[in-house]
């Protein structure tokens, strides 16, 4: 790794930890900034940096540091809980998003599609994991683990597209 990569991965992992600790109280489903930060990091950083940052974050959570949403962590158990799939699929989400945005984006009206598809990957993977972890039927697990998050996720996609777009202009002059 180059020195610059080490510094970026470390500091952005710190930022991701910080965002995970912030939860905006909303009715029904808590609106955590964790997934939003993953989307912004995926949409702003280059693939290698974005993937390493999220991988480092998951590693810190895996060994037990309280870095996951709301400051909670139970170490390796976080990945075994029914919601563990959402954490693991952050890697898929961020890989997809960073690769797509770095290769194909001239920012336009369609740039909203990439974060949206990345969120779909995250939610669907999380849902399948939830289904097998709890042994529920497909339909019940769909309504418990995926449907309540659709609206917050769309809001996050809108914010992240807006923020990443401007950040890329400032940072990479793209």
């Amino acid at each position: 790794m180059k020195v610059k990569e080490i510094s970026f991965v470390g500091i952005f992992a710190a930022l991701l930890i910080l965002f995970s600790l912030i939860t905006i109280p909303t009715p029904l489903v808590p609106f955590t900034l964790q997934t939003l930060a993953v989307l912004i990091i995926g949409g702003t950083l280059r693939p290698k940096l974005a993937i390493s940052t999220v991988a480092l974050y998951l590693l810190l959570g895996f060994v037990g540091l309280p870095v996951f949403a709301g400051g909670a962590s139970s170490g390796p158990a976080s990945f075994l809980l029914p919601t563990g799939g959402f954490l693991i699929s952050f890697l898929l989400e961020v890989s997809f998003l960073s690769i797509m945005t770095s290769k194909f984006v001239k920012y336009d009206h369609y740039s909203f599609v990439y974060p949206l598809l990345a969120s779909v990957i995250n939610l669907v993977f999380g849902w399948i994991w939830f289904k097998f972890d709890t042994g529920m039927t497909w339909k019940v697990s769909l309504f418990t683990s995926l449907v309540p998050f659709i609206i917050p996720e769309i809001v996050k996609c809108v914010i992240s597209t807006f923020v990443s777009q401007k950040l890329r202009v400032i940072i990479h002059n793209k």
Binding site: S7, I11, G64, G71, S74, L80, P82, T83, T134, L167
Partner: protein
């Protein structure tokens, strides 16, 4: 939020505190994996007894643990309840519309309840008795074997140290940005949900831009001080494997082997 990263650690000098953190992490993962593979009703009780004994020896106090478990208990209970009511297999005792209680449903509900409880208790115990610095050293030492397949372990451990070091700094940064925006008239705690979510944008922009600047500055500082990546570096903190570690290690492994030989088979 300021001290979050140190929030869980409960300093002490008990038998469990003094164990090598590498040993503790390995055994924690081992017990969690074992709890996933068991199917008998007796095995989780034995693992719970091991956990209870460890908690008693660690002197962290049960209230710490109960406080930690509280966060997850709703999710665990809900999952178990849904499993109990929605799985239909084996002998059906009661049913109503799509809900039913069957022998299989009851079994998997109880087993998954125990699995989560064991996983959470043992992970909490690891967190309560191991300082964050020890944890970050442990990660580095656990990654060490990966050096043989050319994984830049030294660099990864440096990124870990940077991440942990910068969380408090950036927390301060968030407070500063919030104060700055408040002084410009932003009211963070007023308005409906949409307004509140919108309020997060004036924090995010400066935060992300400052983060980029900070990362650039840090990289320049490291280059100027002659840092070159992935070389062997000695550490000021050394971890020691004592006789107690060997005893605990063998004891836990023996218990798990016995569970699988005597109960599970």
């Amino acid at each position: 939020m300021d001290n979050f990263i140190f929030g869980q650690y409960s300093p002490g000098d008990s038998f469990i505190h003094r164990l090598d953190p590498r040993n503790k992490l390995f055994l924690t993962i081992l017990i969690i994996v074992a709890s996933l593979l068991i199917h008998s009703w007796v095995s989780p009780l034995i693992l719970l007894l091991v956990c209870a004994f460890a908690i008693q020896t660690s002197h962290v106090g049960w209230h710490f643990l109960i406080h930690g478990i509280k966060f997850f208990i709703h999710m665990i209970l809900l999952t178990s309840l849904l499993q109990l009511l929605l799985s239909r297999s084996g002998k059906v005792y009661w049913y109503f519309w799509i809900f039913n209680i069957s022998s299989f449903g009851a079994h998997i509900a109880i087993m998954s309840f125990f699995r989560f409880i064991i996983a959470i208790i043992i992970s909490m115990l690891f967190l309560l008795t191991t300082s964050p610095i020890e944890i970050s050293d442990t990660i580095s030492s656990l990654l060490n074997p990966l050096k043989f397949i050319h994984v830049p372990v030294e660099d990864i451990s440096l990124t870990i140290s940077i991440a942990l070091r910068f969380v408090p700094t950036m927390t301060g940064e968030v407070h500063r940005i919030m104060d700055a925006q408040k002084s410009r008239g932003v009211q963070f705690h007023k308005g409906n949900v949409i307004k509140r979510i919108k309020m997060s944008i004036p924090i995010m922009f400066p935060l992300f831009i400052n983060t980029f600047k900070r990362a650039e500055d840090l990289a320049s500082a490291m280059i100027l001080r002659g840092y070159t990546g992935n070389r062997y570096r000695s550490s000021i903190r050394k971890m020691h494997w004592h006789i107690n570690d060997t005893i605990v290690f063998i004891a836990i492994i023996l218990i798990i082997i016995l569970i699988f030989l005597l109960i599970e088979s």
